[in-house]
C-alpha cells in the first residue's frame, strides 16, 4: 500500500543521524520532525533565522516574533539561537547544515529539481529553495510519486523551470526510496505492499533495479 504523507516523513526520519543540523521545507518535510528515531539528537534550522526550532506553541502562547520559514508560529528548544538572514544562509551555503529535506514538483534522473514556478500559472517565488539545493551536499526530496493527474514526477528531464541542477541525491515518495546516481533513479526500497512493477510504471525517468528490492520497515 502506498504511504501517506506521514509515512513518507517517517521513512525520511530514518535517514537522520545523531548530531545533525537539519533544514526541513514546507509540507511533508515539516512532518519529519515528528518521527525522530529514539536515541538520536538533531537540531532544526529554519532559514528565517532560528536554530533549535521546537514544536508549535500551546494555544495562547503564540509569539508573532517567533515563526518558521513557513510563517507558522513555533517554539524553541534549549540551546536555540536567533540570527539574521545573511548568517542563516551562511550556515546553509557554507554546508554547516547536514541534511535538507524539501518537496518538489519534478525531479529528473540526473538530480535536477523543479519546485518554484509554473509559468503563467503559479509564481510564488523560490524563497530559500535555490540556496538550499545549490549548497547542501545531502538533499532528500519528499514528494508523491505522481501528481494529481497521475503523471510521474520522476522524469527524464524536468519540464518546469529548474530550482537546481544535479543536486538531488535521494527521493522518498509514497511508493519508494530512490537514489540518484549516474543519471538514473536507483530503486532502493519499496513501500510496504507496493510492487516493483507499479513503481516501474509510474517512473518516467531511467529506473535501475538491482536484484531483490526490500520493503521499507517503518
Amino acid at each position: 500500500m502506498a504511504l501517506d504523507k506521514k509515512g513518507i516523513a517517517q521513512r525520511i526520519a530514518q535517514e537522520l543521524r545523531d548530531g545533525w543540523y537539519v533544514n526541513l521545507g514546507i509540507g511533508i518535510p515539516t512532518l519529519v520532525a515528528n518521527y525522530i528515531p529514539e536515541g538520536i539528537e538533531v537540531e532544526f534550522q529554519s532559514e528565517n533565522g532560528v536554530l533549535g526550532m521546537g514544536p508549535f506553541p500551546f494555544e495562547g502562547e503564540e509569539d508573532a516574533d517567533l515563526i518558521n520559514a513557513g510563517k507558522q508560529t513555533i517554539t524553541t528548544m534549549k540551546g536555540a539561537s536567533f540570527f539574521d538572514s545573511a548568517t542563516s544562509f551562511a550556515m546553509i551555503r557554507g554546508q554547516h547544515v547536514q541534511l535538507t529535506v524539501l518537496g518538489a514538483m519534478e525531479v529528473s534522473e540526473n538530480g535536477d529539481i523543479a519546485n518554484w514556478k509554473i509559468p503563467g500559472k503559479m509564481v510564488k517565488g523560490m524563497g530559500g529553495a535555490m540556496d538550499l539545493v545549490a549548497s547542501a551536499d545531502n538533499i532528500i526530496v519528499a514528494m508523491m510519486h505522481s501528481n494529481r493527474a497521475g503523471v510521474s514526477k520522476l522524469l527524464k528531464d524536468c519540464s518546469l523551470p529548474l530550482t537546481g541542477v544535479a543536486c538531488v541525491k535521494k527521493v522518498v515518495t509514497d511508493l519508494a526510496v530512490l537514489e540518484i546516481k549516474e543519471g538514473a533513479f536507483h530503486l532502493v526500497e519499496r513501500a510496504p505492499g507496493v510492487s516493483v512493477e507499479e513503481i516501474k510504471s509510474k517512473t518516467e525517468g531511467s529506473l535501475i533495479i538491482n536484484g531483490e528490492v526490500p520493503e521499507m520497515s517503518l
Binding site: S46, E47, N48, G49, V50, P55, F56, P57, F58, E59, G60, E61, E62, D63, A64, D65, L66, I67, N68, A69, G70, K71, Q72, T73, I74, F82, F83, D84, S85, A86, S88, F89, I92, R93, D112, G120, V123, K124, G125, M126, G127, G128, A129, M130, D131, A134, S135, P161, L162, T163, G164, V165, A166
Partner: protein, 231 residues
C-alpha cells in the same frame, strides 16, 4: 549622536516617487508597519521595493500594492497575496524574484562595500541568465551584485537614541542587512531607550547604520499562520 525624530511623518520625509526602498521583515514578522501605513497615506508612487515578501492583501506591503504605489518588487517569495498575483500576471507590476540567501547577501554586500560576490545559488536556473558563471572547487557559481536603496526601513524591538538596535527572535531576519544598505536608514522600534541603556555586547545593529529612529505608535504584529498544539 542623537538620531531621534518625533514621529512617523518625519520618518518618511524625503521619500519621493520612483525611489528604491528596502523594507525589513519575513512574511509579516518584523515589518516596519508604522512606516508602511504612513507611506500609504503619503500616496508616493512608482516605488521599487526590496523586501523578502510582499505582505498579505490587507497588511504590510500588500497595502501599498492595493494602492498601486509599487512599480517593482524585488523579493524571494510572494505567495499569500492575491492582488500581487493579479498585478504581476497583468503586467502592471514588475517583479524580480531572487533566491532568499542571495537577497540577504546582496543587501549585506551593498552595506559592506562589496560590489559583487559569487554564490552557487541559482546556477543552471533562470536566475542565472545573463550572469557570469565561474567554477570554484569544481562547482559552478553565479556572480551576484550588491543591492542599495535610497531608504531602508527596518523594525526593531528595542533601540536607543544613538540608533543602536536589538531585534527579538525571528523578527530580526532581513532587518540588520537592510539597515546597512540604505543611504538613509529609518528604524521604528517598540521601545526607545536613552543611549547607554543597551548593553554594548548585545547590540545587533550598531547606530552607525541608522540615521533616523522613532518609537512606533502602535504595533499590531499580525500573525500569518497561527499554528498551535493542545496541552
Amino acid at each position: 549622536m542623537n538620531k531621534v525624530i518625533n514621529n512617523v511623518t518625519e520618518a518618511v520625509q524625503g521619500i519621493e516617487d520612483n525611489m528604491t526602498l528596502m523594507l525589513g521583515g519575513f512574511g509579516l514578522c518584523g515589518i516596519p508597519e508604522n512606516s508602511i501605513a504612513e507611506l500609504v497615506k503619503t500616496g508616493i508612487k512608482g516605488l521599487t521595493c526590496i523586501s523578502n515578501n510582499a505582505g498579505v492583501d490587507d497588511f504590510g506591503l500588500g497595502l501599498l500594492l492595493q494602492n498601486k504605489q509599487i512599480k517593482k518588487m524585488i523579493s524571494s517569495y510572494v505567495g499569500e497575496n492575491d492582488e500581487f498575483e493579479r498585478q504581476m500576471l497583468s503586467g502592471e507590476l514588475e517583479v524580480d524574484l531572487i533566491p532568499q540567501g542571495s537577497l540577504a547577501e546582496r543587501c549585506r554586500a551593498g552595506g559592506a562595500g562589496i560590489p559583487a560576490f559569487f554564490t552557487p545559488a541559482g546556477y543552471g536556473t533562470e536566475v542565472a541568465e545573463g550572469k557570469e558563471v565561474r567554477v570554484f572547487n569544481g562547482k559552478p557559481h553565479v556572480l551576484e551584485s550588491a543591492l542599495h536603496a535610497d531608504f531602508a526601513i527596518v523594525k526593531a524591538w528595542k533601540g536607543d537614541t544613538d540608533g543602536n538596535l536589538v531585534f527579538k527572535a525571528t523578527a530580526r531576519n532581513f532587518n540588520p542587512m537592510m539597515a546597512m544598505a540604505g543611504k538613509i536608514t529609518i528604524a521604528e522600534v517598540e521601545e526607545l531607550l536613552p543611549a547607554g541603556e543597551l548593553d554594548p555586547n548585545e547590540i545587533h545593529t550598531p547606530g552607525i547604520f541608522v540615521q533616523r529612529i522613532f518609537q512606533g505608535a502602535r504595533f499590531e504584529k499580525r500573525i500569518e499562520q497561527r499554528t498551535t498544539r493542545t496541552k
